[in-house]
Each structure stands twice: as C-alpha cells, then as structure tokens.
C-alpha cells in the first residue's frame, strides 16, 4: 500500500519543514501550536503548512536528538510540551541552511533567462 501523500508535504521539499522548525526554535523555545503559528506568520501566510504534519517532523528531530522536549506550563497557564534546539540541532541547521542556499543559487542560475548564454 503506497501511503497517500500528505497535503502538507506536497508543497515542501523533504527536510524543509524540519529546517524551518529548527530555525524557529533557535530564536526561542516553543511548543507545537506556537511553532505552527510562528511559521505561518513569518512566511506571511504564504506557506500553508498542514498543522498535523508538524508532529512527525518534530518526532524525527527528537529521534535524531536535534531538539529536546519538556512539559511546561505556558504563559496562558496551559500544560504544553516545549521544544528546544540542542547543540547538535544548531550545527545541523547551519549545515542544512548553507546546503539549501547553494541549491537555491543553482536553481536560480538555471532559471534566470538573462544569463542563459
């Protein structure tokens, strides 16, 4: 059985969501709902991430020890699981971002018609 494609992943390349999560957490620790809100606002609502797809990404990051999670009481007096980026997560993010930038540069060069010849 091939798994039906999750709509949230259709628009993003693999690893993009993780990268955004790590970048957000680098700024400040957050819980899941806050992460979704943060990403949505920062992208000017351009990226419509399906909220649920955040969780598998978070679990992958947890498993690879790039983030850690703890239950805390939020400012709104709610019991939330707050994620923090680890040192390994910081290194990983830097690596990923520079790789991503090189890739983007490549795509950009290919796509820009003026410098084709």
């Amino acid at each position: 059985m091939t798994p039906p494609q999750a709509p949230g992943q259709r628009d993003l390349f693999p690893g993009a969501l993780e990268m955004m999560v790590l970048q957000s957490l680098r700024r400040q620790p957050m819980h899941g709902y806050a992460l979704v809100q943060h990403i949505r606002q920062r992208s000017n609502e351009l990226l419509q991430v399906e909220e649920g797809s955040l969780y598998p990404a978070l679990q992958r990051l947890l498993k690879d020890r790039l983030v850690k999670a703890e239950w805390e009481i939020s400012a709104t007096n709610r019991r939330v699981r707050t994620y923090r980026i680890t040192a390994a997560g910081n290194r990983h993010l830097d690596r990923e971002v520079s790789r991503f930038e090189r890739m983007l540069e490549g795509i950009h060069l290919v796509l820009s018609p003026a410098e084709a010849e």
Binding site: A6, G52, S53, Y55, Q59, R60, K63
Partner: protein, 879 residues
C-alpha cells in the same frame, strides 16, 4: 513510578504525543472561539486545518519504530492465532517434527557412541589385534613370547605395542574367595592407552610387579568408591598387590576388574596376546605386509605357537567389539534417516497444502498493499514458529530417547567403554534439516502468491474448479516418496521380527528350563598334575550333584549351546582310503566338545544310538566319542557310524602349562554313539558336525559346571561356594547363569532390541505416510468442494466424485508401494549380509502390502466419504 515507566520509553513517548496533539487541538479551538466561532464550528475547523490527526499520530509514532521488530511481533501474534485457529494442523506439524528429530538424534547418538567413537584411548581407531589365518575360516589369535614381543615392538609400522594376558584371578584374604577378571598387561600399557587415572596413578615400567590398578566398576562395587583404597593392599591368588590408582569409568579395556603388570619369563612357552597401534599414515595392508616376514620367522622359531602357512590380518578393536552388529546399526541409521526424511516430507505436504488453501488470503494481502517481502516474512514466521516448537519438543524427545535406548540396549552389544549420550552435531543436523524444510515449504506459497495477482487468486478462491496441476504433481511425488520409504521400513521391521520369531522358536536340541551353568577357574599353577586335576573336578561335580536342589551335574569345556565353538581338523581313515572321498573330506573340520558323561542327561540331549562312555572310562581317558546327527549325515549318511574311528588335530594333542593332556592321548577316537543336534555356530546357523569327547582327554585349568536344578539358583550358588571353599580354600566359583537368561539376554536380547526398534520406526513411518495421505486428500476435497457441488448438480454420481478424490492418491500409493517393493528386492542381498535377515520373503511382503493398503484405504475413507456426501446446494452457496 517514573523509573518504571522509563523501562518503557516508547510507551511514554506515545502517551506524550497523544497528549500533545490533544493540547494542540484544544489551544486551536480556544483561539478560534476567541475569534467568535461557536465551539462546534471551531472544533470542525481545527480538525480540518490540523489534517488527519490519527494518521499524523501514526506517522509520528512510525518515526520511532524499528520496523522489522514491530512487524515480527505482529507476525508472531498472527502466527500464534493461526496455530490456535487450526490446532490439528499445528499439532500434526509439531508432533511430526518432534518424532523425526527425536528418533534420528537418539539413534544416531547411540550409533556414534557405540560404533564411531566408543573408545577413550589415544589413537583408538588405529588400535589393532592380530589374527592369523590358515585354510581354516576360524582365525588364531596371535600370541608372542618375550623375545618375539621385544622384537615386534621395534617394528617401524607400529606405534606402540602391548602384551596382555587376561585371566581370572581369585580375590583371597576375605571370607569366601571371589573370582575376578584380571588383566596382566605389559608395563608400558598405560603409556599406550594414554588415559589418565581417575585417582592415584597408573603403573609404569619402573614399578615393581606387585602393584595393581583398579577399574572404576570394580572400585565402586568392591570398595564402595572409597578414595582411601589407594596405597592399600589387595590379595590376589594369595599374593599382596599395592593399589596404585583407580581408572576412569570409560577405561574398561577387556572388561577387567584389576590391571597388574605382566612380565615375560625366559620360558618360550610363556606367550601372551598382543595389541598394537598402527603408525598414523600406514595402511592396514602395508602394515600386514611389513609384519608378515617377521612373523614367518617367529613361526619357524616356535612352530607350536603358530598355525601352518598363515597370513596375518589386522583386526581393529572396534570391529572386535561390535562385529556383525555394525551392519545392523548402519541399517538402523539409514532407517532412522528415512524417518527424518518422512517427517520432513510430511511437513512439506502440510505446509504446501495449507499454503495452497491460503492463496486467496495471500492475494488479498497483496491487493491491500502488502509487499512481497512482508508476505514472505509473515509465512516464514508462521513456519518457523511451528519448526521451533517442533524442534524444541524434538530435543526433549531425543534426550528421553537416548535414556530409553541406554536402558534397553543389551550391554553385550557395545564395548563397555562406550558412553551413550546425546550427540550435539547430529542434533544440530536434524534440527537444521527440518528447519530448512520448514523455511522452504513455508515460503513457497508466498513466492507463488507474489507472482499471481488478486484476480487470478480470487478466481481460484471463488470457483475452485480444479486443484492446480503442478501442486497435484508435487503432492503425488511427495506421497509416493513417503510410501516408498514406509515400505522399506516395514520390510526391515518384518524381516527382523520374522528372524526373532525364528530364533525364539529355533530348535535348541536341549531343555533350557531349570538349567544353570557356572564357571570355575583354577588359580595359576593349582592342580597341575593331570590325575589330580581330573580328580578335583570330579569331586566338585559329585558334591554339586549330591545337593538336594540339584537333579544332575555335568562338566563341559564350552559354554551352553548355542554359543559358537571353534572347530578342529579331522580325518577319517576309513573314508579317506577312497581317492574321491579323500579330496572331498581332506580339509574338513568338526566341532570338538569335551564333556563329562552326565552332560547329555543333564542338558536332556537325546541319545539316538549306541551309548555314552561311563565314569571309569572317562577317568582313564578312554578314546571314545559320540557324534551328533549333523556328523552322521555328513560322513555316514546311509551307514552305521558306530565303531568307526577318526583322528582329530592331525593326531597331536597340544598342551602347555595350563592345558593338561591325558597320558597316551593320540587324538584317535572310536565312535560309540550318536546324539541329537544342538546349535554350535549360533542360533541362526546350521549345526556343524560335532564330536563329543571325554573332557579328561585335554583338561583345561577351568571348566563349566552345568546343573539341572529343582529350586532357585541364588541359594544354590551360596551352598556351592561354601562347599567348594571347604574342598579347596582358594577355589572360587563364578556366577550362576540360567540357560533361559543367557538365551534371553545374550542370544535374543540383540534380536529383540533390533526388532523392537525397527518395528517402532516402521509404525511411526506408517503413521507419517498415512497422515500425509490424509492431509493431501482432505485439502483436495476442501479445495474442490464447489467443483464437486457443480459436478453433482450436473448429475455426477457420488461414486464418480469418490473416484475423482481417490484417483490421484491411489496413483501415488501404487507408485510409492511399487517402488518401495522394487527397492526392497534390489537391496535385499545387502540387507541379508548386514543383518542376516530375509527381507524378500513373499509371505512377509504380502502382509506388509496388506497392512499398508488397508491402512491407506481406511485413512482416505474419511475425506472420500466427506466428498461423496457433499450437498450440491450447500457447496454452491458456501462461497
């Protein structure tokens, strides 16, 4: 509780995840409600924007999974449910494997312990004894004097040589003298054997002559296994020996009780038999060729100790111990391998039939997205679960089987050094073979399923128009193979049972009921005058005969029939006169038996003609003889043997320090009577021509006392020992053996054991074959129920349906049985050589065939009747 939960990190992780997602949704709903939505709408929208919460949670969990463990657990659970769902299938598979593995391992363990590696001695496989053959088929044991032994030891083809003189000695210095088995071996013996002592030490060339090493058995039985015996003294034949040590349990060379150093004297008559180890890399033939010239020279120096014109032949010690039993054990091993093969075929049939029945399920799984690997993994798990269960039970069964065999194997069948225990390599082998069968046959249907698609399989499932041709073929072949092996097993069993019953009903020629025998051996040098010795023997015989519990007593040189007795050359002057007859009888041998005149009455051997010599005639060694019927048939078929004479041993009665020859014995005898035959070459061989002579003609330093008794044997033995002690304080008496015990244990024990084992195998094999047959037929019926329904709806008779079901299996049964019979006939000569059983007796084969066919018909009756009773309406509606 935190520590406890930390033992299950994944469980906690999952709980956290669910909680987190729940909190997320709630927070979202609350914020939507703050935007003015109703709680219901907010809930809907939150869930819509979140996506499929279940799926997301599942995905999140999957991140953590080690997939193969998870699926393995799932497969195991599924396999267990399958086994519980069809317990008959599971039980059949497990029992089949267990019996196959258990029997194979137990029997092979015994064979390995008895045949392949029975001895603890260094280089045991190269240890040999020397037989000298002249024209006579019975070999001479080679014995050398001191000088010859010293030279023999230096032979480059041998790696260690010992001289040995085994004899009964008397344990004296106690209340009643006890006869024990002593092994006097040259002082290098323990270096030769290379087995360290259990306690104390062994003797070496530097030790004095008066030391002794005890066997484990004797140490346990006589000294109750006390450690403080070392350094103590033991009195043998009135001489003190210092106990140096105790040997380990497996050291049982010659079955002796004590080992003491043996020294050659200068006397060339002092000879001893020789054992040696052939140097590694030297073949038996090369060794024989190298030794022959040396032995020829020895024979010229001491012609009395060698036969004329002999060839030396090496006999390996394991051949001495197991002899003809080797062939039987080999067949036993083949049979039990058949049994394992049968078991595996049975498993194959079971798994294949089941796999076939589950093709629809496989196809459905495939259609729902299960990969080929997943399906294979699942079926593999199922068959491995069954294999492992079966193999576990098989190991237990093997352990029990080895114990059982150890109890039931007559001790005389194997060397006493052998330690029978489970053989790990064969255990691994049979477990491996059965596991492989399980894997291959378990996965086969999955591979097939992987090739087919749902439509095909579903068609097959819903229409079931006919069983697949290929599968039918493979089933037919497997069934036929099973039946072939079963026929062979049944034939083995039949032949051994038949032989046993022949032996049980064999004509002994004497009455074993209430007949006992014991051995008396003189201490060395006692009663060394001929008349003194004869007088002493006769005194003991008379004393025994006077006991109220004894009806009559006799003296004999040989053991009770049917023990095998060596023969001696004979010439009959009257017959040899004619030139034709001379060539016919020139190299003849007959069996000489030296007995007292009461022998015939005591054993109740009928005197057919003439008379027996009387006591005075015996006392002065009259040259009178009786012959048996076989002798009369050979030499005087139509004429009267009485008054005829013959010459034994070329007219030379050879004596030595222990064997005393009557004065004037020229080995010429006159026949005065004819008695009935008693077997003298073993129970199953034809009785050889035999002559009975007065035992006084050549008197050994031991004799057998045979008693026909009224009461019970143990009481009698005690009285006898006391009486003999009264006559000669140093004279011991051996154990009393009843003729019936001897027949049952030594003679028939082996045959009974073999027949029992073969029969057990054959029955188990038969059960396997029948369960295979039943399984094939019932799956066939189950698979074709709908087809049969259609056929019947279209007017086919029940008989026709029954015939359809029977056809394939009947073909397999016929082919298998036929092939089995053919193979049996082809192998019957080898079988006869190895077991002296006849596996081609038509009556026996008839019985086997009848048993097999009746059983096959009975077993297949159930599925056939079931098929014939199919109600077309129900069958068509059932899908």
């Amino acid at each position: 509780m935190a520590w406890f939960r930390s033992l299950f990190p994944r469980r906690r992780m999952y709980d956290d995840l669910s909680e987190e997602i729940r909190q997320h949704l709630e927070e979202k709903i609350e914020s939507l409600m703050a935007d003015g939505l109703s709680r219901e709408d907010a809930g809907h929208q939150a869930r819509r924007e979140f996506g499929n919460a279940m799926l997301m949670e599942e995905r999140s969990r999957e991140v953590w999974l080690r997939p193969w463990i998870e699926s393995l657990c799932a497969d195991l659970r599924f396999a267990w449910r399958q086994a519980v769902k069809s317990p008959r299938f599971a039980l059949a598979a497990v029992a089949t494997l267990a019996i196959g593995i258990g029997a194979q391992t137990a029997v092979y363990s015994v064979i390995h312990a008895v045949l392949i590696d029975p001895y603890p001695y260094r280089g045991a496989m190269r240890m040999v004894h020397f037989h000298l053959y002249d024209k006579n088929p019975f070999p001479f044991d080679m014995a050398l004097d001191g000088q010859q032994f010293a030279e023999f030891r230096r032979s480059p083809v041998l790696d260690g040589v010992i001289a040995e003189d085994k004899w009964s000695m008397t344990l004296t210095g106690e209340e009643l003298p006890v006869q024990i088995q002593a092994d006097r071996t040259s002082s290098n013996a323990f270096q030769f054997f290379g087995v360290p002592a259990l306690a104390g030490r062994e003797f070496s060339p530097s030790d004095p002559q008066t030391v002794a090493v005890l066997s484990y058995r004797f140490w346990r039985s006589h000294f109750a296994g006390r450690m403080d015996v070392i350094g103590k003294r033991v009195q043998l034949n009135h001489q003190d020996y210092t106990i140096l040590g105790v040997l380990p349990q497996r050291f049982a060379w010659g079955g002796s009780d004590v080992y003491i150093p043996f020294a050659y004297s200068a006397d060339p008559q002092r000879i001893a038999s020789v054992y040696a180890r052939v140097r590694a890399g030297v073949s038996d033939q090369a060794a024989e060729q190298a030794l022959q010239p040396m032995l020829d020279r020895f024979a010229r120096e001491t012609p009395g100790n060698f036969p004329q014109n002999f060839r030396v032949h090496l006999v390996h010690i394991h051949e001495l111990a197991t002899g003809r039993f080797r062939g039987v054990l080999t067949i036993l091993f083949l049979s039990v391998s058949f049994l394992l093969a049968l078991a595996c075929v049975n498993i194959a049939i079971l798994l294949l039939a089941r796999g076939e029945a589950r093709q629809t399920e496989m196809a459905l799984r495939k259609a729902l997205g299960a990969g080929r690997g997943r399906i294979i993994a699942q079926l593999l798990t199922e068959s491995l679960l069954l294999s492992i269960a079966g193999e576990g039970c098989g190991v237990l069964l093997a352990l029990a089987g080895v114990r059982l065999l150890r109890q039931f194997i007559p001790a005389s069948l194997f060397p006493s050094e052998a330690v029978i225990r489970i053989n790990l390599s064969v255990l691994f082998f049979s477990v491996g073979v059965s596991m492989l069968t399980g894997i291959v046959c378990g996965v086969w249907p999955a591979l097939r399923a992987a090739r087919s698609d749902l439509r095909q399989a579903a068609d097959a499932g819903s229409h079931k128009l006919a069983g697949r041709r290929g599968l039918q073929k493979s089933h037919t072949a497997l069934l036929a193979a099973q039946l072939t092996m079963t026929v062979l097993l049944l034939a083995c069993s039949g032949a051994t049972v038949r032989r046993l019953s022949q032996l049980v009903h064999a004509d002994l020629g004497y009455d074993p009921h209430q007949l006992v025998s014991t051995n008396l051996t003189l201490s060395e040098g006692d009663h060394h005058g001929w008349s003194d010795r004869v007088h002493f023997y006769e005194q003991i015989r008379k004393m025994a005969a006077a006991d109220p519990g004894v009806i009559s007593a006799a003296i004999a040189e040989n053991n009770l029939p049917p023990s095998i007795i060596d023969s001696a050359p004979i010439s009959i002057p009257a017959l040899n006169a004619g030139s034709n007859a001379a060539s016919k009888f020139a190299a003849d041998h007959v069996v000489p038996q030296r007995v007292s005149p009461e022998f015939f009455a005591t054993l109740r051997i009928p005197l057919l003609r003439g008379r027996v010599w009387n006591t005075p005639e015996m006392a002065h060694a009259a040259h009178l003889a009786l012959i048996n019927q076989a002798m009369q048939r050979r030499y005087w078929p139509g004429s009267d043997p009485l008054g005829q004479s013959f010459v034994l041993n070329h007219g030379v009665a050879s004596g030595n320090a222990w064997v005393l020859v009557a004065p004037g014995n020229n080995e010429r005898y006159q026949i005065i009577g004819v008695v009935g035959d008693t077997p003298n070459q073993g129970l199953d061989e034809q009785t050889a021509p035999a002559v009975y002579l007065p035992y006084t003609m050549i008197t050994y330093d031991w004799f057998n006392l045979m008693l026909r008794i009224r009461g019970n044997a143990p009481e009698l033995l005690h009285t006898l020992r006391e009486q003999v002690h009264g006559l000669d304080a140093g004279q011991s008496v051996g154990d009393l053996v009843t003729a019936e015990d001897m027949l049952n244990d030594d003679t028939l024990g082996r045959e009974r054991f073999i027949a029992g084992l073969f029969t057990a195998f054959a029955l188990v094999g038969l059960v396997f074959a029948l369960s295979g047959l039943y399984c094939v037929q019932s799956y066939l019926v189950a698979q074709r129920t709908r087809e049969f329904g259609v056929r019947m709806a279209l007017g086919a008779g029940r008989l026709h349906i029954a015939a359809l079901v029977t056809k394939t299996s009947a073909l397999a049964v016929a082919a298998g049985t036929g092939l089995g019979l053919l193979l049996n006939l082809l192998c019957s000569r080898t079988f006869a050589d190895w077991t002296s059983g006849n596996s081609r007796d038509p009556q026996m084969l008839g019985i086997i065939l009848a048993v097999l066919l009746v059983a096959a018909v009975l077993v297949s009756a159930i599925p056939v009747l079931f098929a014939a009773a199919i109600d077309p309406v129900t069958a068509l509606r059932a899908e």
